[in-house]
Amino acid sequence: MFHPKDLTMLPKFPFLKSKAPENKSKVFVPSRRDFLKMGSLATGGFLLGVNFQCSGPKGELITFAPNVYLSIDSDNQVTIIAHRSEMGTGIRTSLPMIVADELGADWSKVKIVQAEGDEEKYGDQNTDGSYSVRMFYEPMRKAGATARHMLVAAAAKKWNVDASECRTEMGQVVHSGGKKIKFGDLVDLAQEIEMPDQESIQLKEFSSYKLIGKDIAIYDNLDIATGKAVFGADIDLPGMQVAVVKRSPVIGAKVRSFNDQKALAVPGVTRVVKIEGAGIPPGLDKALEGVAVIADNTWAAIKGREALEIEWDLGPNQAYDSEQQLEEMLASTSRNGQIRRERGNFNAARQQGGQVIERTYLAPFYAHATMEPPAAIAHVHGDGTCEIWAPTQHPQWARQAVAQALDIDYQDVKMNITLLGGGFGRKSKPDFIVEAALLSKAAKLPVRVQWTRDDDLHHDFYHAQSAQRIRAVLDRNGNLSGWNHHTVFPAIGATANADEVHPSDGELGLGCIDFPYEVPNIRIETHESKAHTRIGWLRSVSNIHHAFAISCMLDEVAEAKGVDPVDFLMSMLAEDKNLTFEGELKGDFGNYGEPLDKFPWNTRRLRGVIEKVAQASNWKQAVADGKNVGFAVHKSFLTYVACVVEVTKADNGQLIIPEVHYAVDCGIGVNTDRIRSQFEGGAQFATSLVLTSAITLKNGKVQQNNFDGYQIIRMPQAPKKTHIHLIESMEKPTGVGEPPVPPYIPALCNAIYKLTGERIYRLPYKA
């Protein structure tokens, strides 16, 4: 049974939590007994979901598995478990390569196996919030170092030499005298070695790493280029059928009645099944109300759905108009709101005269539009247990949600994770996986739920639309003396709890409440707004609209002062310090789930990326030459990023982005090629947010149906060149999945202003 206490475990999103959660990551060290059991089990047996082949000299394969992330077979095969979801960040490569580097494995021969969803075994698997490397850099090193220590000790014993004279390289233990032995030849001896103490285990010197800090190609590179990589919809089970669902067109709509005669008459259609939906609020992990058509193949299911006749009770959201709500939200920002941060006295600063610059900023709902629309496969067995194959960012939550929907224990849900054809936060939500489970149970067959593109755009968990108003006061000396930021947007929490009408502390902690500049009077306020559709999180979450408003405004303030925006921000940082916002916040500062003493908000590092991007992009010269360059800096997910974007116009009027420069301080760079790829991609992702994409609702219904209505940039619109300048650092590594997006948005807007002479106050800007 699903226990209510399980609900308190989930959902857990460190970036939204107001209090920093305990970092639960650790190397899972099995007891001595378990560890020996694994060894014996592995003889032609089943370990960690991997079917090992017997190929040892006597037809017997021995496996050494000192922890759940790693095993070494007597045939020299090193297998590393990827326990976090691969959605394009390269994490399936970057974490295993840390293990391999500490171990001293031959990377070209390492096999990577995707873990199933099991947080009790593997620790946190919620692939979200750009924290995989941050959380697992040390545990992965320890996992590799533990095995290295034991193999070295085994070899030293065999050779009767001191372990300190031995090291590992390329899958062998090597003695300083020249003797070598392959890992595979040590597995039986290594099992007899005492497990080293995890606290005192010796990690390698950074300078001796062969993989960490280098450009390492992704593990799935060739499989993707040959079409062999397996995504969600690529799973096929014997006897599987395909479901396509007609879902409530308006949040909260209920099926009054439906007629399935015509749908069942479509060749290939086998069943029509109603799905009971969650209503209002729709929840973050529930299926929507709908009617599913199940068929022998996808096309028959799509045709069957077209033939369905459904009468809906549309409910209270049928009158909802997103444009009207946005106008109301904007109007609310001119009134006093709920104060969330206060320093000094903004109103007094305002009354002392000088100049007040007051601007408003609007941003729309955005859909994730992953290239792979949601799809999931479920097989509910006769005994009630369930097996899932799905492209999920959050396997444990999906298990819980399926268990709740089927009224079974989550231990009875086996969760297999495929590659994700894009995630960006969409595939954190298990709603589509719950659908597959419910339909498999009803049909008594394995079922694949296939979302079409219109399903994806109509039934997403959208990035919230937002209205902001910023008042900047320049005193009589021209100094920025007051900053009043009003922000209003429907909260993510409102999707599960209709009473949440203000942005949460967590959402404000994403680039709004942590305004880092030395302004003596600061007041940050929020206003009420309700959710009439499902709100979720999209790559960098509310940093998107906060960075847009704040950094566009700062550019305008610099202009009003008649100073260079780079110089202006450097001066506004004043002396280097760690920010705590103590005594100023009315709620908690989440710091992306990390304590401030461990990951301080450090203005020296912010200054570092500003200096770097200005120098690397030749900012001063570009400005002097009259180039249309825009600049912005924004810290998010504990990574410091500054950005310079250049724009021009082609003869045909088309906006061109010839050059982008990023300066990045993410601490230690683990896989530098994947860091660069995240920034190249982040610039392109953010270009869509600025120039092409918007979701609108009328009569409660989303108006965009496919990539003609909801546009994302195509190759001609992409930045031509993106240069990434990494700050060399030995600070703890932080994530890079989301941080490229926020500063790029205002940098592009500020560049477009140089080109057109018009400031951008509303996204998307239709060039």
């Binding site: 993707i224 096309w299 790829s677 994302i712 195509r714």
Partner: protein, 152 residues
Amino acid sequence: MEKFTLIINGNKQSVEVQPDMPLLWVLRDILDLKGAKYGCGQGLCGSCTVLLDDVAIRSCAYPVSEVGDQKITTIEGLSNEGKHPVQKAWVEHVVPQCGYCQTGQIMSAAALLKRNPKPSEEEIESAMAGNLCRCGTYNRIKEAILTASKSY
């Protein structure tokens, strides 16, 4: 249901399907060739791109009844081992992020280089404009095509 004989990756294969079934679903659901991906169903994103007699088409919006005796090439037939110059260039530049759109991108690039072995950057942009990538691999796709063009 109607019977169609298709020439796929050099082999003749017969299927019995509805004549309006798009080629994509014939490949994926009937013939178990999963390399071509579903992205939009309307020929707007290019994830489903395959070749018909060396021309890139969007298989999600191409009824099987229209194929006739045109030769179909999917990613599996381009080179199953990744030996095609476009695939090699893709691997060399580590183009993919999530990878979902990449088989379609590769097929479009292969068609482009077949008809224009030395494309300019502008010609690449224009030829590839029908293939969306949400992760943002456009820079590396362009570089990979320029690299691959050296083998043509």
